[in-house]
């Protein structure tokens, strides 16, 4: 857990340093990172006094929907299927609110919200890969900030989906959950540095564009 917290701190400092140099969509990525760190910090503090942060998780999961929508809207505006996904985002947003109010109480983790969000984010991410294939640019793929961002997001959300399913399965069969905890740590250790790397690449791209 210490590694993850260290990653959070480094990522927070990193995103604050780079914020002014980022493109608009990546500024929203930075905002998403700050929101995540804020949420995790509150959860950490509350855990210390043995209080659950499920209410915060509900708010966080609802806020993530428009944030991901804004990020992907800037990338995928011109894609033909995007208006449908846009509608799906709206439906998911409504679903999250209704779920938090009426279905899953704020005293338990908003798993439905997070899974619905993961599904729509995975769809957006795959659409973005499709767009990249249709409109390749000349710079090498490993130097493209959007590729790293998209890969990190796809990796995180597809993994969290799998982890959620496995958690349910382990719960039902009374298996130990410690293995899953490690999977979660590995997932975070890949996701956040990849996000940081994409921020750095984006700042570099923007610098190059400005100097042109």
């Amino acid at each position: 857990m210490f590694t993850i917290r260290l990653t959070y701190i480094l990522l927070l400092v990193w995103s604050l340093i780079l914020y002014k140099k980022l493109s608009r969509s990546f500024k929203w990525v930075a905002i998403m990172i700050w929101l995540t760190i804020l949420h995790e910090t509150i959860a950490f503090v509350l855990k210390r006094v043995e209080l659950p942060n499920t209410f915060g998780s509900h708010i966080y999961s609802i806020a993530l929907v428009p944030l991901f929508y804004i990020i992907y809207d800037r990338f995928l505006k011109q894609i033909p299927g995007w208006p449908w996904i846009r509608f799906v985002y709206f439906v998911v947003f409504l679903f999250c609110i209704l779920n938090s109010i009426f279905v899953q109480s704020t005293k338990i983790i908003p798993s439905y919200n997070l899974n619905a969000l993961s599904l729509v984010v995975i769809a957006s991410s795959l659409l973005f890969y499709l767009k990249m294939l249709k409109e390749p640019i000349s710079s090498p793929i490993q130097h493209q900030s959007q590729f790293w961002l998209n890969t990190a997001i796809l990796f995180y959300h597809s993994s969290s989906f799998v982890i959620f399913s496995l958690t349910n399965h382990f719960h039902l069969n009374n298996y130990s959950l410690s293995q899953l905890k490690y999977m979660n740590i590995i997932m975070c250790c890949v996701y956040y540095p990849a996000l940081g790397y994409s921020l750095w690449l984006n700042a570099k791209e923007m610098n190059r564009e400005r100097s042109k």
Partner: protein, 243 residues
Amino acid sequence: MVLMSSFVFVFVLKYRQKQNEHEQEKQQIKLEQEKTLAEVELEISEDVLKNISHEIHDNIGHSLSIAKLTLHGINAENLPEKSKATLDILTQTITDLRNLSKSMNGNYIRGIGLHEALLREVELVKASGKIQCTYQTSSGDLRISENNEIILFRCIQEAINNCLKHAQAKSLHIDSSVLNHNLVVSITDDGVGFDTSLQTAEGIGMGSMKERTRLMGGKIILKSMIGIGSTVTFEIPIYIEQS
């Protein structure tokens, strides 16, 4: 995780393949554009040479012949009046030659800009005495990119030449304006007109004008009615450098 990594790996391979194909396509398009540009440049220089040849033959050659004849007819009695007439002819010839040189010189046109070049072209057409020519502008001294200015000017010259050669028009009107981020230049005559659907419409320099306009990222619109006249309109996108 293995599945995800495999997916990303396959994607990267596929992306690189697409990137190569895209680069090849871009190279191909660039080559084609360069080829077209070379063809157009060749065509323009041929047009220019033809124009020079006609001007030398029709105007300057003619004036010099008259000057020579006048000099032949000089004797002691008519010396003052004949020498004055010869001087006038030679002055006119020098002016014609200067105007012709300016009209053919791309660098000169680049320097003065499209608006000024058009004003001078109109003066040249008027001076030929073949046709009434007017020029109206609401775009002012708007500058587009230098290369586009010269290409557009050559297109307008081509349209004017077509009108002088084929239209049998009494008057010619050039209008320049800005519409929806486009510089719109139209050349209208009151000549015999022609059927735009016929092949001959393409033959009278239309193909080359179309190609040149395409190179500028613009479009050309041709309207004509038999017995009423024709209008050629060029719409060129502006990347404004207002002077």
